[in-house]
Subunit: 208 residues, 2 copies
């Protein structure tokens, strides 16, 4: 029985700092949530997001020294979802666009036209530009993942403060290819979240 109440899911989301240690999330349900989260859009549908789901005792121990002050979340969450951006995401373009052709969503000609159009930009993008693209797209998916988690009855806590230069290698990934974006702790909250304030929309918006 999933929660389908958009208002409740979205506006009652609060960051959970402590989770119920006894709650496990099956790999099947985790993949289901990732499937749902990755319906998020990405630049030219390149889907640069990659996930390392840290759930084992050994994995949590490896992660613990790398997440600084957020050890409670690491120690109590069902899983810590490390979201990485793939700096060579364009290597999957053929697979993505080929699959669209196979499924009849795109003709071969359109595929060629699109890929001829955007591939040179991706293949030759300066590192800073690619870093921006993969972090923006991976953050879109992170937000949708946090909402999908609520639909499944879980709570989350997004974390930006961790040892960015160590986390890829610690989990066997090439740090040149995979840049860490956010870590999302997930589980059932065992924490009384407090309301937090927001700036008034009028003070951060101009109409032109």
């Amino acid at each position: 029985m999933k929660n389908n109440d958009f208002q409740d899911i979205t506006f009652n989301r609060h960051s959970a700092k402590v989770f119920d240690k006894d709650v496990k999330i099956s790999n099947e349900e985790m993949l289901e949530m990732i499937t749902e989260a990755t319906k998020a859009p990405s630049s030219v549908n390149m889907q640069p997001w990659r996930f390392v789901v840290v759930e084992s005792k050994e994995g949590k121990e490896k992660l613990r020294p790398l997440i600084r002050f957020n050890t409670r979340q690491n120690d109590t969450s069902s899983a810590m979802i490390l979201i990485f951006g793939d700096m060579k995401c364009y290597e999957k373009a053929e697979e993505i666009y080929g699959s669209a052709v196979e499924k009849g969503l795109m003709t071969k000609d359109v595929k060629k036209e699109l890929m001829d159009f955007f591939m040179p930009g991706y293949e030759n993008a300066p590192k800073e530009k690619m870093n921006d693209i993969v972090k923006i797209d991976s953050s879109l998916v992170a937000m949708q993942l946090m909402l999908v988690a609520r639909q499944h009855g879980y709570d989350t806590n997004p974390m930006g403060g961790f040892e960015e230069d160590k986390v890829a290698e610690a989990f066997g990934l090439d740090p040149e290819k995979y840049v860490p974006v956010l870590i999302v702790a997930i589980g059932k909250s065992d924490y009384t979240a407090h309301e937090s304030v927001r700036l008034d929309a009028k003070d951060i918006t101009v109409f032109k």
Copy 2:
């Protein structure tokens, strides 16, 4: 009558390339959507997102040459929402945390402790690090904005390809302070969106 069906809002969201030109969104409703979108989380609640809502004929004309191949969205949308990240967002920390104290959500002592803890990091962050933070946080809000728009009955198209080095100045913003993140076209879709493929969750996820 807002749509409150999470499944429909989230999984039937598709990028709209053409909008119904006759649909206008009032400034009041736009601010309501921005208020709802900014319930999204951000690093230490710094809320670095800023919005320029381009809706006038003059604004659209100014934006047109800067958005490259997405002119249909510019010409037909109710508005083009330019989302910027504020590289000096920490200048609002006192306002944000002061307001939390005023509202009884935080004691003065906790406020001081938190600000003493994170402010030096923000004030002294290298440009690349601050760029990452504001782009990640602003992308979280962008995703929530696209979903909130669906709740209000509108469609969106997020766009990353535009003249990033010109858009701030064109709208009177200091380009050193405000970095563009995404442009979100919003309106009522007048476009038959097609399904798009996604990579299999199993192929982009590892469990550790």
